[in-house]
Each structure stands twice: as C-alpha cells, then as structure tokens.
C-alpha cells in the first residue's frame, strides 16, 4: 500500500526538506528551477526524493496560480480514424513539452461541449483546444472569462466567412473544408462526370461537414449542373452503414457515374457497396473521398481522395498552445491553413458518356 511520510500521509516536500537538511523552499526550487540551487544541495535533494519516493503534487501549483501542466482537448468523438491520428500526434507533441492531455468527447453535440468546457475549466487546464469553428456563445464566453488560452482546430475559413463576433484572435490550426469539398468535386468534374451522388456526413453540430458539402455543391452548380434531391444522401460515420445506404441507392435504376463522399469512411463504404453489387470501380463507377485515412491507400484499387494533414495539425496545435502558455504576452497570432493535396489513386476514371 501507499508508503507514508512522517505525518501519516504521502511524503511531502517538507519530509524531503527535512531529510535533505534544507528548507522546503529549496526543494520547491529544485523542482521548478533547478539551476538556481547549488549542485551539492541538488544532489542531497535528489537522494532524499529517491529514498522517500516523493512525487510532487502539481495540484498545489495550480492553486497558487501556476500551471497544471494539463491541456484540455474537447473533441466530437475519439472513435474516429482521422481524429485519433491527430490526437496521437497532439498527445505526443504535448508529451515532449512535458504536458499531459485531458480529453473529453461530446458526441457531436455542441450543448454538451459547453458542459465539458466548464468541467475542464474546473480542472484548471492551462489551455484548451476545440474542434471546428462553430461553438455555442456560452462556450466561448466561458473560456474568455476564465482567461484560458484556446485554439480552434480542424477547420479554417477565410476572414469573410468567419462567424461574426467569434474570437478571431485565437490560434486556429486547420484546413479549408470548403476547399476540400471543392477540390474533390472538381476532380470528378474534370474527369467528365455529370451525374454525381453526394454522400455526405451529418451536419448537425459539424461545421466541417457542412463546409465540405457546400464546397462540393458550389463547384458542381458553378459548372451549371443541377443536383437533384435524389442525388444527395446523408451517411453516418460508419463503413457498414454507409455501405448499406449507398448500396440501396446504387441498386435503384439510374445509377450515377460517380460518388462524392464527404469523408473516407463513407468512400470506403461506397467501395464495398460497389463490390457487393458487382459494379466495377473505376470502370462503371468513380469514387472520391476526403481525408486519406490510414488504410485508404491499401484498397484495391487505392482510394482517390483529398489528403488531410491530420498529424501535422495535431503537432502544430500542441506547439502553438504550449507557446501561448509559455509566453502569454507575446502575440504569435498562430494561424495555419494547412495545404490540402489531391491524392489520385485508382478509384476515379473518366466518365463514359456513351452509357
């Protein structure tokens, strides 16, 4: 069981001080700014800490107004291939800065997001990262009131499309989701596709999905093509269900020549749907996704998609947040609109106007 110090609890800084024959203040300095304590003293303290198995208590530091070393991340869901890639990068970048990550998932519900932000405030996180640009006013108010440095991740919009009264000065590390949608759609258009099925993600509490769909539809309409209602379906974030939904559509009489998928999971569902119906890709049907999830390259043929630099976003976000914490005065104005890349693999072919 727990090894106890002199006073019946876990050994504290005082126990260490006693053993090392220094004052508690010096032990505190040993941890927070080792350079200012003399080498010999440092050695004595090191020994005492080791003997006692002392573990410093960061909670106190937080109380006295210092940093907790915890950074909060509020995310729609953890269970999502591409978020978890970003998460992993975010987490390891934080670790190199000696920080830990507090995670909370709201399940695509911005009302719950507000609750989670409050709960992380209680934990006195040093900074906060949110996914997307659109949040409840009370969420933003809460963060500003507490004076917690915060960043918005994963989406980026040019100035004119920025929600009004939104914190334009917070770090924002993401990519232009509208552009991602447009790039994918334009690729299909360039290949001559005129009849495209838009299989997009649910847009409630999800500005990224909405932006992508808008980008894609704008591109197609800009080309003078109508998009009838039956060419638009909403898919959940699940390969199996996307597969079934899309298979249902493909089974119907007139088949589109291409599918625009709002993300790679939907695209993968589309690929399996085609396989299950014996429809050849890219011969009879083209499919494009967005994300370039791990594994999308392994498909046969490889999925053509727009690559999202997930790991890079995670890393940049961690760095930006740590910088804002460490130099609160400096005005970095972290803002990264990460470049997107069209990854052409094998799932998109030229439209066959004859058929």
């Amino acid at each position: 069981m727990a090894r106890l110090g002199k006073r019946g609890r876990l050994p504290g800084i005082v126990d260490v001080a006693e053993r090392a024959k220094v004052s508690p203040a010096t032990v505190s300095r040993y941890f927070n700014d080792p350079d200012i304590v003399r080498y010999r003293t440092r050695e004595r303290i090191r020994k005492a800490v080791e003997d006692l198995g002392y573990v410093r208590n960061r909670a106190v530091r937080a109380m006295v107004g210092g940093a907790t070393g915890c950074i909060g991340l509020v995310i729609p869901t953890i269970d999502n291939a591409i978020f978890s890639e970003m998460l992993q990068a975010f987490s390891s970048a934080l670790a190199t800065h000696g920080r830990t990550m507090l995670i909370a998932a709201h399940g695509y519900d911005l009302a719950r997001e507000a609750v989670l932000v409050h709960s992380l405030s209680e934990q006195r996180v040093d900074a906060l990262a949110l996914i997307g640009l659109e949040h409840r006013p009370e969420t933003l108010a809460q963060i500003e009131r507490q004076g917690i440095p915060a960043a918005m991740l994963w989406n980026y919009r040019p100035d004119k499309d920025w929600p009004r009264d939104w914190p334009r000065d917070w770090p924002c590390i993401g990519f232009d989701n509208e552009l991602a949608g447009r790039m994918a759609a334009e690729h299909l258009l360039a290949l001559g596709h005129r009849d495209i099925l838009f299989a997009t993600a649910e847009e409630r509490s999800n500005d990224r999905a909405a932006d992508r769909r808008r980008g894609a539809l704008d591109a197609v309409r800009g080309a003078g093509l109508p998009v009838p209602g039956r060419r638009r379906i909403v898919c959940p974030y699940d390969i199996r269900m996307s597969k079934e939904l899309i298979a249902g559509t493909l089974r119907a009489g007139d088949r589109p020549s291409a599918i625009f998928a709002g993300n790679d999971v939907i695209a993968q569902g589309a690929l399996f749907a085609a396989a299950s119906l014996g429809i050849r890709v890219p011969g009879d049907l083209s499919v494009i996704g967005i994300g370039d999830f791990r594994g999308s390259d392994a498909f046969e043929p490889g999925l053509t998609t727009v690559r999202i630099p997930a790991r890079r976003i995670g890393q940049l976000a961690a760095d930006a947040l740590v910088e804002t914490i460490d130099w609160p005065e400096a005005d970095f104005h972290h803002e990264h609109c990460c470049p997107l890349e069209l990854i052409v693999r094998g799932t998109c072919g030229a439209a066959n106007p004859g058929v």
Copy 2:
C-alpha cells in the same frame, strides 16, 4: 479577457460567499454536498455563482486530500481502431460519473510507460488504468506506493499464468488473448487447413500479441502440425504495410491455404493483398482475424474474426474504477474475463486438399 473578482484574480469562493451573504464554508458545502445547505441559502449561492461566473477550483480539493475527478489512462497508442473504440466507451462512462479522463500514450514502450505513470501520479489522478498485464516492476511499485487504485485492461490470464508477484488484487477487465488466438486457429483447423501463414503483431512490450500468437501456435502444434519459420511473419499495425508484407509472401511459390492474422488490421491487409494478386477469398485462400474492428463486417466478403468486446471493456473498466474510488474500503474484486465470440462471415472456406 478573464473576468476578475474583487481581489484581482478570478472570482473565488470568498467572493461568492460575500455576494451571497454566507460564509465561504457554506459555499464549499453547496458544491460538495448540496443537500446539507438550506434551500433558500442554496438559491442565494446559485445566484451569486451565476452573477460572478465562478468556476470552482478542483485543484484545491486535490490538495486537501480529496479527489481530483481525473482518471488516468495509460495506453500503448491512441491511433488504433479498437483501442479508440474502448477509449470512447471508457470516456463516456467516466463522464456519466462526473469524471474526466487524462490520457497518455507510450507507443508500445514499457519504459516510457513508467515515466507516464509517474507523471500522472504528479497530477494526482484518482485512479489509473493500464493496458495489458505485463509492466515494469517500478511502474507497479510506483502505483502501489502512491496508493492509487489501478486496473489492468485488455488482457486476462487464468491464475496459473499470472506473472509472479504481480498485483493479483487489482481490478482486471479484459479477455483471454491466448484463447482468442486458439479460437481463430481452431476454426481454420476445423475447416481442414493444414498449411497456415501466421501473420502476427510485434510482441515487444505487448503481452496481448504474444498471448494470441502462443494460443494459435499451441492449437496448431497440438494438432500435430509443424509450423515452419517461413510460415511466420510479423506485421506492423498498419493495413498498407501488412498488405505489402503479406503480398510478398503470397507471391512466393508455395502458397498457404489460410492466413491467421493477429488482429483485424493485419487481416484486412491480407484481404487487400489477396485482391491485388487476384487470389480469390475464400476460394483460394482463407483469412481470419481477431478483433472485429468497425468496418470488418463491411468487407466483401465480410471478415471472419473473433470479436473483442471493446466497448464493454471500456465501460466495465470505468465503472469498476469509479466504484473502487467511491468505496475504498469495500473489496469488490472486480475481475471480468469477457467472453469472446467467433464471428463467421465470408473469408474462411474449407481447405482444398486436392490443390
């Protein structure tokens, strides 16, 4: 920016007390045990909290010896389909108990695991969850010394195989990985396969992978079949790389009749490898995985695999940990060896002895 209280900082319990015309003690009680404060007083405090935008500071509670409301999870990697499913379940179960989740990933390195455990101890987590049964002695010692309730997740072994001197009394919520390996192998055996390729995961710092491989090999050897070295390959946790590795093996002259994959990612890689070489599944080659990851059911044909109840493990673990925190005296002896289920889909067929 941050809204300040009377004394220049964020409003504290004292500011609230002043405004509500009660003592700080009462405000504290309002938060920690609302029932003991009279309704009218409660209302006054509620109002004051709202007006001031007060957010309680849990750090202090931690200092005074109370709980932080944080539970630490130390995991090999976040970026792993099935862990993230478990993680999501763990996280939301914790949320229903009003707890938050502190995550740290060690990248399959048990030495780093020890460091992370130490770092989470500094944060004074109320409890800790580790993945797997095998950990550095110093990791375990650290946890016991600090008196932190801890649980081991994801693996479970019958008593006789439990590592000696290991904390048998900690909650353990997992499944028998050896059995999982055996079940998969026996399914192939039952279908008449005699020449099986074992594509398993790296076993360094990964007792789960080792146990699965052992279970599979034991089953096959128990049936009197030899497993030559060329029928064993180690694959990384990556569909693309598994695909290439396996394709390399399949291209070689004598082809196995079935592939045992240590997890579904490897199995999916195997499926794509077969597709890329024009090998029919299950006609020419059978493939079985372990995990039943999201999406494994969508493959064409659907992947035959051994289902791991990931969400259930996450949920049970969260509940067990919270129980141990809330009733430290009670001796629950949480121990769940979750049942496994063979999910027969389309990737395994009978061996064709004629070929």
